[in-house]
Symmetry: C2
């Protein structure tokens, strides 16, 4: 643990940064009538009755005087699309509002558009907070939208993805869905992400002379001891690939599979040579996954896997799950 | 806008909920020596010099007396795996610490394990905040981990996924990657998510007598006017599928394609019948996407697409992008 006398500011910032926040822009109007705004993630709610919120402003901020002289200010909870606006208001500068559409709010404060929510407030307390002043405001008016939020974590902008709850299956009323396809189409993104990964795995499989279906068959047998062809085929039904007995016979002739008879069914298992080849390809696939996690980041891999699992669960027509061990 | 006299508490809560937060458990020890803890998302940082943080506790909380009598408390910024712990400490109950391992912190406060960060604090200010008390504490000691954080948004637990920045391509030092496959393997999740979606699209394509490759060829021609077979084939190289001239000739005979000669190249385009069939299948695919977005939620679809795009960009070996219009 870091001790009182040796709190390293950058380590302390990193520890605080592990607390995820939204991003807000807080605006007011100076005594001279100029619009003033700062980006802040120190916002939080305080009280429901009366409706109070708070945020902190550095004592050395150029905007402090405006927030001390004007009791009214507006909190804008930013949407995922407002990263640019957040960056603009995070810097010191004279022309933050240049080209930005503003509406007039309570007390003549400038209000921005396209946010997740806006709260128009009036200072009721200003509290001492070390190198910051804590502003507590009563919420006079507010509005909100359903836009996805901009979040902030570990010093970077982030997206907040719900971990999931029972979903309301709203009936679909799209008789004429708008035909806009492109880089944003989920079917394309899933296919492309899959094929890019898969092409690399198959390079390794092909190096051992294995086709797609042969590779599928071998990986299943590496995870489970022995299986009939029908069992393996059912486990891969989700791919649309078919595993046939001719394929198994061929792999048997190449020394990779062995057949056993059990309860008058023919079951197949890996030979030592078959296990060796399969583990080499799986090992390459695992290395690819580790590489992806390093490129994508640990939190992002975690979130991506979580979202893919949710998608799979919510759209599963009932295919068998090959990884659930029998 | 909601006006001062008609602030609807549930609408107000929804507006506040659009601000993403982390989740903390704040612990202390009562005058009687009992461990006390509450789940709070009202935490935020205040000051770096001195190191100050704050959080708010409801005035009617059963834990208020303990936090008023003990100047020391510990903030635990929870990791994505600690949703259960968060739920447990969010409820009123006598046995929140039952079976939970605790360490002793500054001032004998109970510290929990496996968090993103822990901050041991001493109250320096207690401020009035409507129906809550705002506790401002000086951080005496802290530690942190690299665990993925638990976030909270719109009344639900969430994951925070970085929007992405330049990534440090750390060299991979895994000579012997651990061979654990299963439902958590990214290759499986990508394949399964892709095939589940794709199988539904192909049901529609098959209803019009189209194979995979034929469907690919037709969709490309629906997006771009005319193309040579070589051009279309390059655009779908990422799938591993090959588009052949024989396929085009066959579709021509079925009245779906027309061939034109240009600059001594043969280019293909859709006939009216071909366009009709293609748009019907694309329309079904679009309806599937809308259905997925409704099942997954708007923020989650947005985050999933963002993460897939990041993955695709970071692992793209240089395949052509079919949706970039020429």
């Amino acid at each position: 643990m870091a001790t009182p006398n040796n709190i390293d500011p950058s380590e302390f910032r990193r520890a605080l940064g592990s607390f995820t926040t939204g991003v807000t822009i807080i605006t007011t109007r100076s005594a001279e009538g100029e619009p003033v705004g700062v980006t802040a993630n120190s916002f939080n709610s305080v009280s429901l009755t009366p409706p109070l919120v708070l945020w902190s402003l550095a004592k050395n901020s150029r905007s402090l005087r405006a927030f001390e002289s004007n009791s009214h200010w507006g909190v804008h909870i930013l949407s995922a699309h407002q990263e640019g606006l957040s960056n603009r208001f995070a810097k010191s500068g004279e022309d933050k509002f240049l080209g930005v559409d503003v509406e007039d709010g309570a007390g003549d404060i400038p209000l921005l558009s396209d946010c997740c929510a806006r709260l128009q407030c009036k200072t009721i307390f200003r509290y001492e907070g070390g190198d910051h002043i804590i502003f507590v405001g009563e919420v006079l008016e507010f509005d909100r939208s359903e836009l996805p939020p901009l979040a902030f974590h570990a010093g970077q902008y982030a997206l907040a993805a719900s971990k999931g709850k029972p979903v309301s299956f709203t009936s679909m009323q799209h008789d004429e869905p708008e035909l806009t396809f492109g880089e944003d189409f989920i079917g394309y993104l899933l296919a492309r992400a899959h094929f890019q990964f898969y092409a690399q795995v198959m390079q390794h499989a092909a190096a051992y002379g294995l086709t797609d279906s042969e590779y599928f068959l071998l990986t299943i047998l590496a995870m489970r001891d022995t299986q009939t062809i029908e069992e393996v085929s059912a486990l891969f039904s989700y791919t649309g690939y078919h595993i046939t007995r001719a394929m198994a016979t061929d792999l048997q002739q190449r020394g990779l599979l062995a057949a056993h008879e059990r309860d008058s069914n023919v079951e197949y298992g890996l030979t030592d040579a078959g296990r060796e080849v399969t583990l080499r390809v799986l090992s390459a696939a695992k290395a690819l996954e580790i590489d992806i996690e390093s490129k994508l980041g640990a939190n992002e891999s975690f979130a991506l896997k979580h979202l893919l699992k949710t998608l799979i669960a919510k759209t599963d027509p009932g295919f068998a799950h090959p990884w659930n061990r029998a």
